[in-house]
Amino acid sequence: MIEQWFPNVDWEKMWEATYETLYMTSISVVITFILGMLLGLLLFLTSKGQLWENKAVYGVTAVIVNVFRSIPFIILIVLLIPFTKTIMGTIIGENAALPALIIGAAPFYARMVEIALREIDKGVIEAARAMGASTWTIIQKVLIPESLPALVSGLTVTAIALVGYTAMAGVIGAGGLGNLAFLDGFQRSRNDVTIMATIVILVIVFIIQFIGDTAVRKLDKR
């Protein structure tokens, strides 16, 4: 019956494209998480009234984050082509999409990290300081564990955004389900391919959302 509804879908190609999408998404999520955490912590710690309060550092970081967060992703990819070519050696394929994916998503996640950290009860940080905790200990044992549910739900949102970004990157030659839907589906007027690619992307998004929600529920002891 599936053959009947989706006559033009080449399942091997579909599977390969799914794999490429998952590959791009997972690698970029991991690196976005690390970069976003670092940037978010920097934003939080240098903001007013915090441990490393520093107007200049906060200002510069905030501007960089805002600029990269504001550029539409499709334009960002184009702008980053020379940069991608320098560091990845190519502008075609899944790996070539990674720099743009990460640079597009990390500032987005950094803001979410900052918001998550701001939600922490100031008194808890004060209590840790009163116990003689160093800044590193506070980051490791107070800031991260106390904001973990928000960090995870932020990462879920970011990961879902990244799935969308990979599809856009696909259109300009990065491979994956976006590429398949655009080249095989749209350009060759095979709507069934486009619909199938959409269904697979939806499944991926639902799975990510489910994992994220479950993790948050398990982590939140409040």
Partner: protein, 390 residues
């Protein structure tokens, strides 16, 4: 050293200089004298006063200009003492208590706790010093992500205590604060009183020399407040731990403190043993605080009401302070004189240094006998006062 209560009672008043309010020069002089004497004693005896605050000032720069949160405060706290600071919000008590563990640094002056000059040390030295100063908070400030055990273990992790040792210590502390069986609960599953017990256990984990209590009972209901206060007294007596607390409730001061400082606009306006302050509050603000625990029995209206209700004989107000509260003054009165005694109302409260309270009674009978009875009361260790219409 584990100073017992009696030792404290004898020791504390010696260091406490009463000073006339309004005479600022005398006030500063006596405060400074008490600090100098304290320091001298410290050098001499090696251990007695555990906290010195010398000419501490804290000025915050705000949009509306500089604000003096702490204004030239001199203070010393003895080892094993429960010292209370009372004031309304904005009086500077919160800033002052935060200076004791370096969460605030004084703009001027110095703060010394357990032999370390908190106001000047920084970095790892300050962190080390903080491990010897426990602190509990109004809103408990527990980590919701950690269980009771893990919360209590946190300061031990910071101090680098090995895991086996940590577990042992946590067991002891859980037992000390009476939370047996709740070790694996999360803070969200505990009541306010239980949360504060966790806070206390956590503050005691590294065997601190001083425990700071920042409005520790202000978020609790009266009954829970009392049980937490009892726990604090118990810890003070068992471990000889010095406790400094700030509060806006005179009830807390009355219940557990040995000495009290009344703060207003960044200054200490009155300082002394709790009983003395209760008996003879000098500043209007102190009188207001003392009324918190004596009201409504002594309000003007009730007294007027009593006079109107009992026109014959004399109405006498007895103020009991310290030991005399236990003496059977009234029994003695009835036995020795041919008078009728009618107790109208009264209230006796227990403080750390003895009982404090007032008793209103009507003394009736032959006017000569009544006069003799009143003279007898005057001779007792009881403040008596014959009340008449204003």
């Amino acid at each position: 050293m584990k100073p017992g209560n009696r030792l404290l009672k004898e020791k504390v008043p010696n260091h406490t200089k009463q000073y006339a309010p309004g005479d600022e020069r005398k006030e500063i002089w006596t405060q400074s004298l008490s600090v100098i004497m304290g320091r001298w004693l410290f050098l001499w005896k090696g251990s007695d006063p555990v906290i010195f605050i010398e000419q501490a000032k804290k000025i915050f720069q705000t949009k509306n200009g500089p604000v003096k949160a702490v204004d030239d405060i001199n203070l010393s706290v003895q080892e094993g003492e429960i010292f209370g600071m009372i004031g309304y919000s904005g009086a500077g008590k919160s800033t002052l208590i935060r200076m004791l563990n370096g969460l605030e640094t004084p703009t001027e002056g110095s703060v010394t706790v357990a032999g370390r000059t908190i106001s000047t040390i920084k970095g790892s030295e300050l962190r080390k010093a903080r491990q010897e100063i426990g602190m509990i908070f109004q809103h408990f400030n527990l980590l919701w992500s950690r269980t009771v055990r893990e919360n209590i273990s946190f300061p031990l992790e910071i101090a680098g205590v090995a895991k086996a040792e940590r577990n042992k210590r946590v067991d002891e502390l859980i037992d000390l604060v009476g939370l047996n069986g709740r070790g694996d609960s999360y803070p969200a599953q505990l009541s306010g009183g239980q949360k504060q017990r966790v806070g206390i256990a956590r503050a005691l984990a590294n065997n601190p020399k001083v425990l700071l209590c920042d409005e520790a009972t202000s978020a609790l209901d009266p009954q829970t407040t009392d049980s937490i206060l009892e726990l604090l007294v118990d810890i003070n007596e068992r471990l000889g731990l010095t406790i400094v607390l700030i509060t806006h409730e005179m009830h807390v001061i009355r219940k557990i403190c040995h000495r009290v400082a009344v703060m207003e606009e960044g200054k200490i306006v009155e300082l002394g043993p709790v009983l003395d302050v209760f008996r003879r509050p000098e500043q209007p603000i102190t009188k207001r605080f003392v009324q918190q625990v004596t009201e409504p029995e002594e309000s003007k209206e009730t007294i007027q009401h009593l006079l109107a209700e009992h026109p014959d004989g004399k109405i006498v107000k007895l103020t009991f302070v310290g030991v005399s509260a236990e003496q059977p003054v009234v029994t003695e009165l009835i036995r020795s004189f041919n008078v009728g005694v009618n107790i109208l109302q009264g209230k006796i409260s227990q403080t750390q240094n003895g009982a404090y309270g007032t008793l209103f009674m009507q003394v009736t009978g032959d006017s000569v006998e009544v006069a003799k009875a009143v003279a007898f009361l005057d001779a007792q260790q009881v403040d008596s006062e014959v009340i008449t219409y204003d």
